[in-house]
């Protein structure tokens, strides 16, 4: 049984989550939600999942989150609750981005183009980038347009921005702990720069180097392999409809 890239990302991401933590997944985040549900059903039964912030401990992976599908939450909050937990802080927040840079800054607002700035969709919640104890970054594209050396606009600041560190900027908490792409799992080094730690497939390493907008090791890191138990649990319990299989 071989796992798709999305399944591997979800399984590897699930290992980032610990028992009794509180994690928030965004509205359009099938992989982080699957990871969270898998963590709950394996090593982190006490994990609290805030689906799109308001659907607390959803029991079902749905095609779109805030679109009318019943994710069967055990409780339902509203955006007054999300405002409060944003101020109070949680353990883990997931962020995707139009651009993600070497130091884990995320941009969903504005990309510079030769014709002028191109507006992105914007981001609902930027503050959890520093009120959550740590963040986990993800993207469905491993390409230089997405993985840039420095974001054009920092919607959320990672480990450094324009030569200033997170602590120099007065930002509390740990910032981004991991960056998932369809090719690799990256982790920050001692300077907070993201470097590949594991690979999700056997694509030529030259392709990964070309797809990364900053210098990374010439040496391919080890391959990630899910266990049979993890993949079986993911397919049987978390994603029986095969949403992550359909998306490759």
């Amino acid at each position: 049984m071989s796992a798709t890239i999305q399944e591997q990302m979800a399984i590897a991401m699930s290992r980032e989550l610990r028992d009794n933590e509180v994690v928030l997944t965004g509205a359009a985040s099938a992989v982080p939600l699957a990871a969270s549900l898998l963590a709950q059903r394996s090593h982190a039964p006490g994990l609290t999942v805030l689906g799109a912030g308001v659907y607390i401990n959803p029991q079902r992976l749905v095609p779109e989150f805030s679109a009318g599908w019943d994710c069967r939450p055990t409780a339902v909050g509203d955006l007054g609750d999300v405002f409060a937990i944003t101020e109070l802080g949680i353990d883990v927040m997931f962020y995707g981005g139009m651009q993600i840079d070497e130091f884990g800054c995320v941009n969903v607002h504005e990309v510079a183009t030769p014709k002028g700035p191109l507006r992105g969709p914007g981001m609902a919640n930027t503050m959890l980038g520093h009120t959550a104890k740590r963040t986990i970054l993800f993207t469905s594209r491993h390409e230089p347009r997405t993985l840039v050396s420095a974001v054009d606009f920092a919607s959320v600041i990672g480990h450094a921005r324009r030569g200033r560190t997170r602590s120099e900027l007065g930002l509390p908490n740990g910032g981004p702990a991991a960056l998932f792409t369809p090719a690799v799992l990256m982790r920050p080094n001692a300077e907070g720069a993201f470097r590949p730690d594991l690979t999700f497939d056997d694509r030529p390493w030259q392709e990964v180097l070309a797809g990364t907008g900053w210098a990374i090791d010439e040496q391919r890191p080890p391959r990630f392999y899910p266990t049979e138990e993890e993949l079986t649990l993911l397919r049987s319990s978390v994603d029986p409809d095969g949403l992550l299989r359909a998306q490759g």
Binding site: A67, G68, D78, F83, M127, S155
Partner: protein, 284 residues
């Protein structure tokens, strides 16, 4: 038997009442519980030059209003069609229609509603932190050593709920998102419901009490092409075709075919088979 009451109105009466409206807030979130039928009525009313705000994530509803040139200023943190992709008309309008987008995120938006709810001059936001959105943002106010945001009020709130009653009591199946905050920040609150019943509390727990609601209109499948939790899911095929048509330069045609017609004709256009499929998905 039709349910009636002093707050019960029709889409036609609602459309005719929008003449002086200058600012609108949309309830729901992203692709669910969005007041799409009210938005189509707003488009038919011809009102323009609007200040448009919403719950933190908007989608088709904000996109058609912006694309139709009815909006001059926007305060919405996120506008997209979720998994379908970027909001096509809003992206096009950015370069050509002179729409001003106020840079904001969830805290700056909700803080504005909260300040309005409390009739306070500012809602402190003690953890705004640092990023390119906050830096130099004109919405951020410094008062007494605290940073925060001033009150955000609107002329009319457009909300959607699956069920409501003539007194304006609403029952949500999923989250009520920011609907309460928006209702308290609006001078007038209009709600579309898929189903109007004599007494909402006999259907489920009332999630928004009637005293916050000024007018209520029954519009079956009123959230389409977006979803209504407990009733029907978003019509992702419709949204995909919409995005494709707009990108191909067909926005005006989409508007004429889908928004400048009565709700009954709109539902006929969508078709019973499609609607039944969306209902089945929501019940799965």
């Amino acid at each position: 038997m039709a349910v009636s009451g002093p707050k019960v109105t029709s889409l036609e009466a609602f459309e005719a009442s929008l003449g002086g409206v200058r600012s609108v807030a949309l309830g729901g979130m992203l692709l669910e519980n969005r007041p799409s039928a009210l938005v189509r009525a707003l488009l038919r009313s011809g009102v323009s030059g609007l200040f448009l705000t919403s719950a933190p994530a908007a989608s088709w509803d904000a996109d058609v209003l912006i694309g139709a040139g009815r909006v001059s200023r926007v305060r919405i943190p996120h506008i997209s069609l979720a998994g379908i992709g970027l909001a096509p008309a809003a992206r096009h309008a950015e370069g050509s229609a002179g729409v001003e987008y106020e840079p904001c995120d969830e805290a700056l938006l909700l803080g504005g509603f909260l300040a309005a709810n409390h009739r306070a001059p500012v809602q402190p936001l003690d953890h705004l932190g640092v990023n390119d959105l906050v830096e130099g943002n004109p919405l951020v106010r410094e008062v007494g050593g605290f940073r925060g945001v001033g009150p955000l009020t609107v002329d009319v709130a457009f909300l959607h709920a699956p069920v409501g009653d003539p007194a304006g009591n609403l029952v949500h199946a999923g989250s009520r998102w920011a609907d309460v905050l928006i209702a308290r920040a609006a001078k007038r609150v209009v709600v579309q419901v898929d189903r109007l019943v004599p007494r909402a509390e006999q259907v489920g727990t009332v999630s928004i009490p009637g005293y916050l609601v000024d007018e209520i209109v029954e519009v079956p499948f009123g959230a389409h092409p977006l979803g209504s939790v407990g009733g029907y899911v978003a019509d992702l095929d419709h949204l995909g075709r919409y995005a494709e048509q707009v990108r191909a330069g067909g926005f005006a045609e989409y508007l004429a075919d889908n928004c400048q017609i009565s709700h009954e004709d709109y539902l006929d256009r969508v078709g019973d088979t499609v609607l039944a499929g969306l209902v089945a998905e929501a019940a799965a």
